[in-house]
Structures are given as C-alpha cells and as structure tokens.
Symmetry: C2
Subunit: 602 residues, 2 copies
C-alpha cells in the first residue's frame, strides 16, 4: 500500500526546493522517500528513506518539547502562546495584547523556545537539544556544518526576530545565542526513516518504540501534538485537519511528519515545495495515506466502549476446588450472588464508565465480586478512580471485592484481609479468587446442619459408606492409612500407578503443565473424594501430578490388593467401580457446566 | 464526577448574557446545566438540563452537515472554505483570493451553508433543517417564535453579510431567504440534554445513540468534526485544542457542545459569556471534564494495537469431533500446521497491520488457517482489503483459509468450496472450522496404511476386540444391532438409561444446552467409540442429548442384560468396565489438553 501511494504521488514534479541558501538548493530535487513506523517500532519504507537532509522547521515541535520539559507548561506559556497565527511562518509580528509569539511553530515562537532550553552554556544547551532529538530518533543525530554556516551567515530576518523578541522581553537573555541555537537545530541532519521513528515516538506517548526509551512525558506529548494539530502546517491548518486529520509538521528541507496518536508515525521526504512552503509530494502522500488507511483522528475505534470481556457467576463457572455434594448444591442455588468480571483492552473513561455501570446494575444482588484485570492494558487515572469508588461503594453495601491484578494495575500492591477495607483482596489468578468468592457464598448460605469439608474416618468415606455392611467390613482392612505433609508430592506425571486413594482429611491438588510453561491446578480434592481410579483400573501410568495442599490423611488400596479383588470378590469390586463411576459422572457434569458457561466463546 | 465539576464551576458568575435582543437578555443569567451522553445513549445530567434556550451558533455545524449531505463535499467547498479565520465570528470579510467565507462556523459561512440546503421552497428548506436537528436530538425540536422575530427585526449585520455574499456570487439566489433561514435555525429551542444527544450523535459516527437513527453519514461526520476542531471556538481554537482537545461549538445562547469521537458528547448551558462570546462556565466545565476524564483526543487508547485475542493450533485445541487414536496421533504430530486466530475489537489499519504481520510470519509453516471474526466490531475498508490480500497470498502459497464470520463482516457472503478460491470457506462457528482444518491436516499426513473413521463389524469394535475370545463370544450375542436415520434423536436429557451403545458406522453428536439458549456440540463420536456407559453403570437418567449426525449403525447392550451380567459373569463385566474406563481416560486426556491450551485464560 505504501508503494501504491508512492507510485501515485511520484510523478508530481511541481514546486521547487528551497533555495535561500546554496546548500538547500543543491539537493536532488526529485528525491522521494516515504516511511510509516508502527507504535511497536517497525518501519515500513519506500524510496529514498536513507538520504540525509536537514530537519529545518520539523525541529520546532521537538525543541518546544524540550523547553516544556525544562520550564514546565506555565513557564513556557508565559513566553509562547498556542494560537494559529494566520500569518506566514517568518512574520515579524507578535500578539497585540501579550506581545508573545502566537505559537511555537512559527519562527518567532521557535526561537523563543530555543531560548528556554536549559544548560550550563550555549554549547551545553545545544548538546541537550541534539540529544533530545536523538532520543526521539533512536540514534545519534549530527549537525550539518555547511548548512549551519550558511544559515548563520544569511539569517538576517531571524536575527531581526530575535532582537524584536528581546526588545519586548519575550527572550530574557542574549538573542544571538537563541537564534544561533535555532540555526543549529534546523541544521541537524535526519533521514526519512529517522523522522518516521520520531513521529512514532510522539504517537507512542513519548516513548521511542525502537529503543523503548522515554523521550517525553505523556502529558507533554499531548501538548506538543495539540499544537501541531492547529499550527503545524503553516496556513493550511484547516484544510490539513479536514483532509488529513493528523497532527503534523513540515520543514523547508522537504520533510513532513504526521502522527496518529497511539498508533503510528508517517514521514515523507521530497524537496519540491508549494507556495506555503510544504513539500508538494509530502502533502499529497499524507493525504493519500490518511484516506487509504483511514487515519483521520475523527475516524476512531469503538473498542474503548466494551471493556468487559466476559462476566459470569460462580454457579456458571466454579473454581477448580471440587466441593462436596452439599456445598455444590449451595453454590448451585446461591452462586449467582458471586460474580466474576473479566476486563480487557485499555481502560479509559468511556470503557470504565460502561464497566462501572454494568457492575452497579447488579450491586444489590451481589455478595462477592471479582474483577480480573490481567488482560487490561493502560489504566487511566480517571478509570482507576472510578473503580476505586465502585469498590468502596460495594464494600460499604456489604459486598466483598477482590481483584485479579498481579501487576497492580489499580495500584493495590497488597491484598487486604480486612473485610471492611474498600481496597479488598488482590489475587494473582482467577481460580483462587473464584474459590474465595465461593467460600463467602457458602459461609452465608450453608444450611445450619451442614458442615464444610471435614475430617472423616474411613468408614464414613462415601466410597465405602454406600456399600452394604458386609462388603464394607471386608474391604476396610485392605486399605492402608497414610499421613502426608503439606507440599509432599504424592504422584508425578509418568509414575506407575500406586493405588486408589480415598481422602479422609485435608486438600490434595491435581496439576498439569500449561503451554505457558507454568504448572496449573486441574482440580483440588477434599475429604470424601478419591483419586488414582483410572490408572488403577487400566494399569496406565499417572497422567496428572498430585501434591498435598495441606497436611493430608488418605486411605490407599494398593495395586496388588486392588487387582486381586477381581478374582477374590468380583461383585464387591463391581460395586466399588460403580461408586467410582458416580464420581466420574459428577466430574463430567462439572466439565459440561464449564463448557456450557463458555459456549459463547467457542 | 459530573456533580464535582458542576460544583467546581458553579460559583463563577463572571461574564454577562448576550443582550443584543431582549429575548436573550431575559434569560435567568445564572442557570447552569451540564450533561454527558455516552455513545450508547445514556445521558448523565446535573442542574438545569431541561431549561429551553435557543441553539444559536451551535446550529452552524448541523446546517453545514445538511448542506454537505445535500450538495456533496465539493459542492459545498466551492462556496465555503474550512480555514480558521482569526477574526471575530460576525466579521464582514471573505478570503482575498477565492472570495469564500473562511469556514462554516463564522456567520458568513453559516449563512452560505443555509443557502445551500435543498428544498422545494423556503418553508420546505427550513422544515428540512428542523427535521435534521431533530434527528440529531432524537426528539422534535421547535422554533422559538419570539426570538426569531426579534433576530429578524434587528439582524442588520447578518443581512449585510447576506448581500455581500450575493454580490460576490457565493450565494446564488435570494440572500434574504438564506439569512431568514439562518435566523430561524438560530432560534430553534433546545435543552442542555438535547445538545448532549446531538453531540453524542456526532460522536457515534452520525448515528443517534438513543433512537439508533442515522442523522449523518460517517464520512461527513468526520468532516464536520474536523471543522469544529479548528474553527468551533471562535478565536480560542489553539487554547481549546491544547487544554480541552475536543471538537466543539458554542453559541451566544450560552450553550457549548463538545465531542469525543467514538465515545461521548458533552453539553453545557450557562448564559454568561466571556469576551470571545463563549459561555464562561461552559468553557471552564469542558476544560475540567477533559482534564478529569482524560478526554483529550491525543490521549488515545492503545487497544487498536492488539487485534489478536488468541491463537493456537488444532493440536492445542482440537475440534469436538473425537478422532480415532490413529488420527489423534497424526493431529498431535502435525496439528501445528493448522492454526486458529481469534480477533477482537475494531479492525482499523493499525490493528489489521499487526494481525497480518503476525499471520504472515507463520505463513510458511501453515497448511490451513482459520480467522475467527465473531468478536470483531467495526471493520474498516482498509482492514478488509488487507485481510483479503493476506487470504489471497496464503491461498496462492497452498494454505487453505476459512473465516468464522456469521455476520459477513469481511463481505464474504458465501462459503467457497473451491480450494483455489482466495475467498475461502466461511463457517458460522469455530468448532466446525477447526474440524475442517483437522481434515486438511489428516488428508496430508495420515500414513498410507491408516484409514479415516470407517464402518466396522461388532467383533472389530475396540470395546469387544480387546476381550479374550471366549468373553467376546459370550458377550456378542447380547448386543442388539440398530440402524438410525440421520437426525434421529437417540436420547434426550432426562431419559431413563436405555443401553450401552457401541458405534459401528456413522457419526453421533452429543449436545448440551448453552447459557446462550442454543444447543451446542459437546462432542461428535464416530465408529469404534461408545456412549451411554455412565448412566448404565450408576442407573441415572441421561444427562446429554444424543442425536445421529449421519445414518448410524450401533450395537446396544440394553439395561436388563447389562445388569444381569453382574451376577452371571462378574469378571466379564469387570473386563468390559475396564475397556470403558480406558475410553473415559482418553476423554479426560483430551479435556486436560483443552484446559491446558486455555491455561493462560484462567
């Protein structure tokens, strides 16, 4: 596409290069380069993108940026306004009332900006300018001495502007020093590719996408882009905003940069200029690119609208802690009172407003809430404030709140155990947060007689309790009782089968290795449940590792005894398998419920 | 937050209401209303948001919009430029060279725009203006007769502008008619809440978010917003863009609208005006809202960058067609050659560029590709073109491509069966597309000797083939052979158990009802597999409905026979259960693989 645009503009050889100094007139007039740099640092390029030329007026936003960083917004605003002037760039005129230059994109404003750069002395000040540009470009830029000397020798009009600025005290010290620095900055040599990266740095909130170095703060970047929008293209601002719709800056060297904030930077190099002093093919290429790629800033994405990626209750998508049948029934009946919201994308005002509105709409019915922020990118200050307020409101209304926010995007660095603390709990994965939600619901809604998972004797274990008394009496002595320490590995992936395990006390975690290289919980099992059935039955090695989450008491039927049952007591073994199948059935139901809750995703 | 901003601005009672006609001077000077309308049509409001007042100059962008719709961009541009004028709004001056008004936001441009509205006669033309505003507001707006009569009686300066425009042929016909229409449009009565909806309609690409009616095309909306950006706030454009950063328009009635494209509209009503003719508290409130809510147009979301929501191979996340062990092995070894990309958000240039780049980076290794577009919002023309090109390139390189695109977002209305057609297959769900991918990989990589799923005799079915010959001979006659027609329901949710089914030929689909109200496929089973085991074993009713996807041949062991086996041949039954457990084991492995591929999501 870049090649198409290049081809479409290439043949327009109207206009003439700047010729006020011989060095500028000496360029190849028909050179033409076109670059597009993405906000992640890839530079697409066509044509003469490595030809060196002087940056000229494209330097203005960058020196203005440095002045803003050195003096602050108010410190600069006292000297330079931000209004379009409606006059030529080199006009010797100031605002009638304040005597300030109208904006930093005309020469008087640019020279004033150069005067505001900090430094020990003139050499140090210019070196800071050069380094600033180099940070934007991602490589060390150098001044073209010949161009500088020519500019310095012939720049009478700019010297006049300097003295006029000094006469009204807009420039506080030596005007020659400021004008000299301005000549030097205009003579810094760049390529079309450099300018694309400089533009992309402005697009990327001031961070250079190739070096990942910050060249300017986000808020100052916004200010520079604003001024480029209204004043960047000399007198064609309205037409430029209407037909291109990108903050931009051109220079008499033949360069133009244009920025789509947040997304990309464009640069063009073509020395033939139009009557306004803008590159003819540069303007045409920007217009064409904006049209074809739909880059106009009013052509925006709607994605900020939908920050909620998914939301569901713990009844729809339970945690991986397998609950007792009694607890599972409670969660099935009351689980809609605990809800998980997964957010995604960047959280700016509009998206946060939608999110808060959606959650508040359910506030009355909720006892616990989890907000999963792991897929969220940038969180703006206003969004953070809105979510904080939401959390405080919910906690005040008796709803517990947890975040899944391992990177502390909302600034909650510590999980708070105090149920009245509006900052709430912070988890690093959703599964644990979901389990926490379930516990809150269970605590409130578990019927008086029903206990949470509790220690039991082997006789009470459902696997045996359901058998007829004679069978139970025959089978019980075959089990071996074992106690395992917290963290002890019971089985590793690939181990030979080691027994049918009945859990009498504590919690056991079954894990699997994720494609992300981390170990994940498949399920946590508690007293009254069993594991190891299938390897036992079909003689295969263990698939999923098993580890004790707490101290655990288990009863084990070892392989030799289990196998011997087939001949000794086949009917007893069938009855046992039937109990095991019931467990598998419950597990399948839970799986189906999970898939069902995610059906829309598939 | 709106109330905070309201409170922060309320006490500034500087400025005075417009008083050039008695009707404007008669307003309550301290009335103050503030609204924020979201792009989905919710209007937040504080203060005097239902007080009626005349729209005045806020009418200008809307009549300009109607003129653009009636005459086209070029037809209007021949009469009105889009450059900031740098002069007061009621200046009687035109561009020196073209004689056009500088822009449609000053009176001369607005009167010209009024002259360009189409209609049978003057009454019809104004009625079209009134209807246009009403579409933006989402209710029928009316003219305030008293204000109109006063304006018409005293508007000498605007009549002068009208005649001057006629003298240079910028207005083609009766200037009195255009000026009269301009007086009428300025006298249309609105409330602060109306203006918020009108602003939100501009934010929502020209669609009224409350009525869902289109008030203006997307491209013309962009143009209107561009002109508001540079010319909307009289002479304070640069300051406005820098400190507020929203396209806006104010009126001497005391209203201001501001638009964050794609996201929201703001309106303020407060009649006291500053020296530029802008509402004092209106400007302050917009500045404060922009700052607190971070609405500046250069403060953009980065979400357009990451259009890929997830990507994985068919080896990582297989379809729900259960493959034979042989085919599963082929897919496990070669499945990385078929890949699924899920996209989300709006697809504009930057997001499409990332997506295409990511997919192209793998093009050499792919034999089949699925792009799932169901979570994509807007698809821009350039993104559509880029994906089309990508598809054509991939197909030319021998990679088959399918879209999951039930709403034809990419404009592919018909699925193409021709493997050389770059438009490729179109599916309505990802599971079917995944199965299609798997078939392509299997066709290429299935070893010569291995067959696809094929018809078999009962003896060959793995459930019996693995038994010792005597057991098999004893069990085979107990099975009943049945043939089922395509679409026949074999079992419904809640049916009593009806047998252990072995599939000998055809495909059987197990389904479950999704929370979305639709029936989803849990799994499709083919020859060599079985179903109904668990209800048989534990005597529970059927959980998941089963239906014949094709004509099916099954062998059924009915409940009475199955139960009788316990007493008659317990060891044979144990052997059978062991085979069934092996099937359950394979199913669990597949489940774990699915969960594992999604681990990052959990």
């Amino acid at each position: 596409m870049l090649e198409d645009v290049y081809a479409a503009c290439r043949d327009d050889l109207s206009g003439t290069p700047a010729d006020y100094i011989p060095e500028l007139a000496a360029v190849a007039p028909d050179a033409f380069g076109l670059c597009l740099a993405t906000a992640d640092g890839l530079v697409y390029r066509v044509g003469d993108t490595e030809t060196g030329f002087t940056i000229q007026s494209i330097s203005k936003p960058f020196t203005y940026a440095l002045a803003l960083a050195d003096r602050g917004v108010d410190g600069v605003a006292a000297h330079i306004d931000v209004e379009p002037s409606g006059e030529p760039f080199n006009e010797i005129s100031l605002e009638p009332q304040t005597q300030r230059p109208s904006n930093p994109m005309i020469n008087s404003g640019a020279i004033t900006a150069a005067s505001l750069v900090s430094g020990r002395d003139a050499a140090d000040k210019f070196e800071r300018v050069r380094r600033c540009y180099s940070r934007f470009a991602g490589r060390e830029l150098r001044m073209n001495e010949a161009v500088y000397e020519s500019e310095a020798r012939t720049g009478y009009r700019n010297r006049a502007i300097g003295y006029m600025l000094r006469s009204v005290n807009v420039i506080d010290d030596d005007p020659d020093d400021a004008v000299d620095r301005y000549f030097r900055q205009c003579s810094i040599e760049t390529t079309c590719a450099d300018l694309a990266v400089m533009a992309a740095t402005l697009a990327d909130n001031g961070v250079n996408p190739t070096t990942r170095e910050r060249a300017l703060s986000t808020s100052l970047t916004e200010r520079v882009l604003s001024v480029m929008t209204t004043c960047g293209m000399y007198n064609a601002a309205g037409d430029w905003v209407t037909t291109v719709g990108l903050p931009a800056k051109s220079g008499v060297g033949g360069g133009i940069i244009a920025v789509l904030p947040g997304q990309l930077g464009i640069s063009v190099y073509s020395p033939r200029l139009d009557a306004q002093g803008n590159s003819v093919r540069g303007v045409a290429a920007c217009r064409e690119l904006s049209r074809r790629l739909e880059l106009h800033f009013c052509h925006v994405t709607r994605s900020a609208r939908t920050a909620i990626r998914a939301d569901y209750t713990v009844a729809q998508l339970p945690s991986r802690l397998r609950r007792s049948p009694e607890d599972a029934a409670v969660l099935s009946a009351h689980g809609e009172r605990a809800r998980i919201y997964e957010l995604h994308g960047d959280l700016l005002f509009a998206g946060a407003e939608r999110t808060v509105r959606a959650i508040e709409g359910r506030a009355g019915e909720l006892e616990a809430l989890v907000i999963d922020l792991r897929r969220v990118g940038e969180v703006s200050a206003v969004a953070r404030g809105m979510l904080d307020t939401l959390q405080a409101d919910l906690v005040a209304a008796g709803c517990r709140v947890a975040l899944v926010d391992p990177d502390a995007r909302l600034g909650h660095e510590v999980s708070s155990l105090d149920p009245r603390d509006p900052r709430g709990r912070v988890f690093i994965d959703r599964d644990t947060a979901t389990e926490w939600c379930e516990d809150i619901v269970l605590e409130k809604h578990r019927p008086p007689g029903v206990q949470a998972a509790h220690s039991m004797g082997l006789d009470e274990h459902p696997m045996l309790a359901g058998l007829v008394a004679a069978d139970r009496a025959r089978l019980t002595p075959d089990f071996v009782l074992r106690t395992l320490a917290r963290g002890e590995v019971i089985a590793e992936h690939g181990d030979p089968r080691s027994g049918l395990y009945l859990i009498l006390d504590g919690r056991v975690r079954v894990t699997f290795p994720g494609t992300d290289g981390r170990v994940h919980r498949l399920v946590t099992l508690t007293a009254g449940m069993s594991f190891g059935e299938i390897p036992m039955l079909i003689g295969e090695p263990v698939v999923n590792a098993v580890v004790a989450e707490t101290q655990v008491r288990v009863a084990v039927l070892v392989p030799a005894v289990f196998d011997a049952l087939t001949d000794a007591h086949p009917k007893l073994k069938l009855a046992l398998l039937q109990r095991l199948a019931a467990g598998a059935y419950a597990q399948m139901e839970a799986t189906v419920r999970t898939i069902s809750a995610n059906a829309g995703n598939y």
